[in-house]
């Protein structure tokens, strides 16, 4: 058992220490989404509205989406270290160790998810300074969804980073694929106001269901709600199925190479 748990713990702990010792990453991971939130919320306050926003101002609507963006950035940056580890030679030490490949995957997944959750929660600390009021159950359920989303997003990042040999290539994937996934996830605008073709594209995006689920938990008991979109059980089902598929594919990728 220790030959499984200790390698997972080792890789998790190493990523935590690495993150803490490179504080610039915290600033980057939270600073950029914060600026996006401030600019978009204040700049588009009058552009968005209507029933789809359920009477919320745009800043309120956008807040959970930005929290997810922070989790996305944090998870992806944490998996980018795999490319650096391969370049620096650290990974070859890991791969020649007796640590099972699944333990290596779980070590990286838990580290990425922890960092994603920690940074997203850190951003949520700003809530008392906004007009958004959340119940305790909403906070707890949001954190739970965030933790699961962190695992899924890290798994997605690990799938790409494990196959790549340059951080430039990873940035290209982030810009071409992962960021558009977030933009079309319903984090920026609700599906109800979108053109039918765009709504169809959004419904094919797995991150859309994560966003829907997170928004539902986030605004639980707040008296507001986002109309439209899939019911909660469907969103949960797609989220779980996507996560399971992603873990399996990532594990196979790591086991092969």
């Amino acid at each position: 058992m220790m030959t499984w748990i200790l390698p997972v713990y080792s890789l998790w702990l190493r990523d935590m220490k690495d993150f803490i010792r490179r504080r610039g990453r915290v600033v980057g991971a939270i600073g950029q989404p914060f600026v996006i939130w401030i600019f978009l919320a204040s700049g588009f306050q009058n552009s968005f509205g209507g029933t789809a926003m359920a009477g919320m101002d745009y800043g309120t609507y956008l807040f959970p989406g930005v929290v997810l963006l922070i989790a996305l950035f944090a998870a992806l940056f944490s998996t980018m270290s795999v490319i650096e580890d391969k370049k620096s030679g650290f990974m070859q030490g890991v791969l020649t160790s007796p640590a099972p490949r699944a333990a290596i995957v779980w070590g990286k997944l838990l580290a990425g998810a922890t960092l994603a959750l920690a940074q997203a929660v850190l951003f949520m600390v700003l809530l008392p300074w906004t007009d958004i009021r959340l119940s305790l159950s909403a906070v707890l359920l949001s954190v739970l969804v965030l933790a699961c989303a962190g695992l899924l997003l890290t798994s997605l990042g690990l799938f790409f980073s494990w196959r790549m040999s340059s951080t430039q290539g990873f940035h290209a994937v982030m810009n071409l694929l992962l960021l558009p996934l977030w933009v079309l996830s319903g984090a920026l605008f609700p599906v109800d106001g979108a053109a039918p073709w765009l709504a169809s594209v959004m419904e094919l995006n797995p991150l859309y269901y994560v966003t829907v689920l997170f928004q539902r938990m986030f605004f639980l008991d707040s008296g507001t709600g986002i109309t439209g979109g899939p019911d909660t059980m469907t969103a949960l089902g797609v989220f779980a199925a996507t996560s399971l598929l992603m873990f399996t594919v990532t594990l196979r990728t790591v086991a092969k190479r």
């Binding site: 030959t3 390698p7 620096s88 070859q92 030490g93 020649t96 160790s97 007796p98």
Partner: protein, 308 residues
């Protein structure tokens, strides 16, 4: 005993085809002994290292430790390129590596002999990015030893060490190898280091060109060699050809080396030269000489030549 049996490996080329990196490599390494794997750049040393450590699966052949497949649990590895996290301290790197092997280590539990010989004692709490290249190598070595391996594979592990540290660490390796019954494979391009090992396996162009104890290998070159340094290599070449001394090869420095040649045999050579050589040296052969001879396919006499 480690048995490397008929290992072949080819790299796939872009655009099709394959380039053979290892061809039917076979040798054994005994427990309690240090085996050097030597050869020029591109000879297949690193590929062999990757096959033995399990980073590459060979096209054919097997690597067996005491008749069984090599187990990562009992293998210690030191890489040519650093495998340390530079944001962690030396001890943290060692402790993390131990955890990958399923064990926890405390500072006090680090084997004092290893830490002392590595000279890392006072630097255990120093971040790796603040350590010199030589000390980083030491951390790598301690890291490889922390899992108490039965098989130790070191790829150019001594490169960044100065002569004193190299000598200290080699002594440590030797004593650990014999006292703990390790099988130690040392992949190196430093001939002086190879000559101190129990066995040398020489690779060239992906195949083994010779193996055996260093003294046995040097027997090929006789008890002494003559090294001639000259500004007129062409004239020297002609003189040696005229006198039928064909068993010779050129060192990277440009000097010509004659194995199994007594000094007396050189007198007629010198008489033929208009410009005398700048230096003529009679000295014992080294592993480096042997490697050059092998790598350049020089015809080394296997029997005492006619001058004797």
């Amino acid at each position: 005993m480690l048995s490397v049996e008929s290992i072949s490996y080819s790299y796939k080329k872009r655009g099709g085809g394959a380039a053979a990196a290892l061809r039917d490599v076979t040798f054994t390494a005994q427990r309690g002994s240090v085996t050097a794997i030597v050869g020029p750049n591109g000879s297949g040393k690193s590929t062999l290292f990757r096959v033995i450590t399990g980073l590459l699966t060979p096209d054919s052949g097997t690597v067996l430790e005491d008749g069984c497949a090599v187990r990562r649990e009992t293998m210690g590895v030191v890489f040519q390129s650093p495998s340390l996290d530079t944001s962690l301290t030396a001890f943290e790197n060692i402790a993390h590596h131990a955890m990958l092997h399923g064990r926890r280590v405390k500072r006090d539990a680090l084997a004092p002999s290893v830490v002392e010989a590595s000279g890392l004692g006072e630097f255990l709490d120093t971040r790796v990015d603040a350590l010199s290249g030589g000390y980083r190598r030491r951390v790598e070595l301690v890291k490889a030893l922390i899992s108490e391996p039965r098989l130790l594979v070191l790829d150019e592990a001594f490169n960044a060490l100065d002569t004193n540290s190299r000598s200290q660490f080699f002594s440590l390796l030797r004593s650990l190898t014999s006292s703990k019954g390790l099988i130690t494979l040392l992949i190196t391009h430093i001939p002086a280091l190879a000559s101190q090992c129990d066995q040398v396996v020489a690779l060239s162009d992906g195949g083994i060109v010779g193996s055996g104890g260093p003294t046995d290998l040097l027997d090929d070159l006789g008890s002494s060699v003559v090294e001639i340094e000259t500004d007129d290599a062409v004239a020297l070449e002609q003189a040696l050809n005229t006198l039928g001394i064909t068993t010779r090869f050129t060192l990277p420095s440009g000097s010509v080396l004659l194995p199994r040649t007594p000094l007396a045999a050189l007198v007629p050579v010198l008489e033929l030269l208009a410009v005398p050589p700048s230096r003529v040296l009679l000295r014992p052969p080294t592993i480096e000489d042997w490697l050059h001879a092998r790598a350049h396919s020089a015809a080394i006499a296997t029997e005492e030549v006619r001058y004797a």
